[in-house]
Symmetry: C2
Subunit: 246 residues, 2 copies
DNA sequence: TCATCTTAAATGTTCGGATAATGTTATGAC
DNA sequence: GTCATAACATTATCCGAACATTTAAGATGA
């Protein structure tokens, strides 16, 4: 994404570079006023469009703030160092989400007892539909995880036709009830493989495992789904790549 | 960041909304050409600046692609759903980075053997400065992790004055040698606590533990630092919050 | 047939000007 | 003094016009 330096840079690009250099050098104190468009036009003998284009670049870079009636304010001397982990779509939240299938083994409505409520990070005494089962890839013989899926009581309708389908459940829920997912929280911890899951996962009790909890919020701020997964340590690693934004 | 709908929307805002609606409705097929600026000016009786501002918004939303000599191409009907995990600064890559101190126990230059090279994801036979020790909080008695820090041979100079300082090592390295960190990769897996570390961490051998590997690249694409940490499972969890971008 | 040149079309850049919207500040009535 | 109002400064929006740059496609020639 770094454009090669043009042989003949544009005027607004040149002005932008110059002003950015001035900002970096501390010529304009942070929090103070930046020269007005008129001033810049006069000082550099440029048209207002050119000046505004340069200012727009500086604003997009997070260095300036512009507002009618106020003026242009200096926000920072250098662009903030920002690293981002970006996911293009909710569907590739993890690489295994799409390519694995859910083999439902248990189902029922539960009322959260204190201990489970704390594990899930949900209201004590609230009622949820719980579906539990194995998650594995199409061809592989060994399951990748044991997953407990909890769906908030108002949205229990999605149960119909879950088994084996590769579509994600949160997606179904959000489509069926017409809202969008606004927030997803993932929490990961290392635990011992619980005894009752070891057999299902063809693993040893007490072997290292990753416990992953996910909580999904709707755009109304409502927590509508929670999943709890146990991955055998030798079959699952998670990688996150952080890249600096340009 | 959602501005309240103005009582009197601007013309380019109105045009943007209308074109976005058309795109969503599939009026312009993805991959095909979008009407030219001239056409839009004529069709809606607007000046070119106004049309270009609307197109700029659509381009920023990821719906259109514009290029001189080619024209405007439809990229998508609706803006891509994007979730982002954003870190403002490299320093709060994890919440414990700043508040913990590193208690160096070992130090030496190593040449990577095949197995260690694979674990670290680095070149076999390359030489690194290895520093290892415990990481713990100021007041707490129990250490949070055992950490191996590997620094690429050209940058070994940073060793001076590492002990106990709370500044991060990658930060020192990048400052001292005058480059910026462009990429950070984190990889997490569940493992058994290695026998030789159990005593140091006051943990049990074989107990669940999180192994975290971090690799740091410079802006020149050079892998200059790798860290390997072992966290006792009962003293460390990791939480990531993904939020939908506006 | 292939490479090169020419041309046309589209977006990009830059000027000039005018009006609108938005805060800040000074003014003035009470 | 306090509050409403008017004047002002500044950015935002919008129009018109011209030229530059980039790319695709057609024309030309060896």
């Amino acid at each position: 994404m770094n454009k090669p330096r043009r042989s003949k840079p544009t005027l607004y690009q040149e002005l932008h570079d110059r002003l950015a250099a001035d900002l970096a050098a501390g010529v304009y104190p942070v929090g103070g006023r930046f020269p007005t468009e008129q001033e810049l036009c006069a000082r550099y003998s440029l048209g207002r469009h050119t000046v505004r284009e340069a200012l727009r670049l500086l604003e997009e870079a997070g260095l300036l703030s512009r507002q009618a009636g106020v003026g242009t304010v200096v926000l920072a001397r250098t662009p903030p160092e920002v690293y981002s982990y970006r996911i293009d779509s909710i569907d590739n939240l993890t690489e295994y989400a799409r390519v694995t299938i859910f083999d439902k083994k248990q189902e029922g409505v539960v009322t959260l007892r204190p201990k489970l409520a704390e594990t899930l990070g949900a209201e004590q005494g609230s009622r949820w539909l719980r579906m539990a089962g194995l998650r594995h890839t199409q061809n592989d013989e060994l399951p990748v995880a044991w997953t407990d899926i909890y769906i908030s009581e108002p949205y229990i309708g999605v149960r119909d036709g879950i088994g084996g389908v590769s579509r994600a459940i949160y997606q179904k829920t959000s489509e069926q009830f017409g809202f969008t997912i606004a927030r997803v929280e993932r929490r990961i911890a290392a635990v011992s493989m619980p005894e009752d899951l070891a057999a299902e996962l063809s693993s040893e009790p007490g072997a290292p495992a990753l416990m992953e909890r996910r909580r999904y919020w709707s755009d109304k701020g409502e927590l509508f789904e929670i999943t709890l997964s146990f991955h055998p340590g030798d079959r699952f690693t998670q990688t996150i790549l952080l890249e600096r934004e340009t």
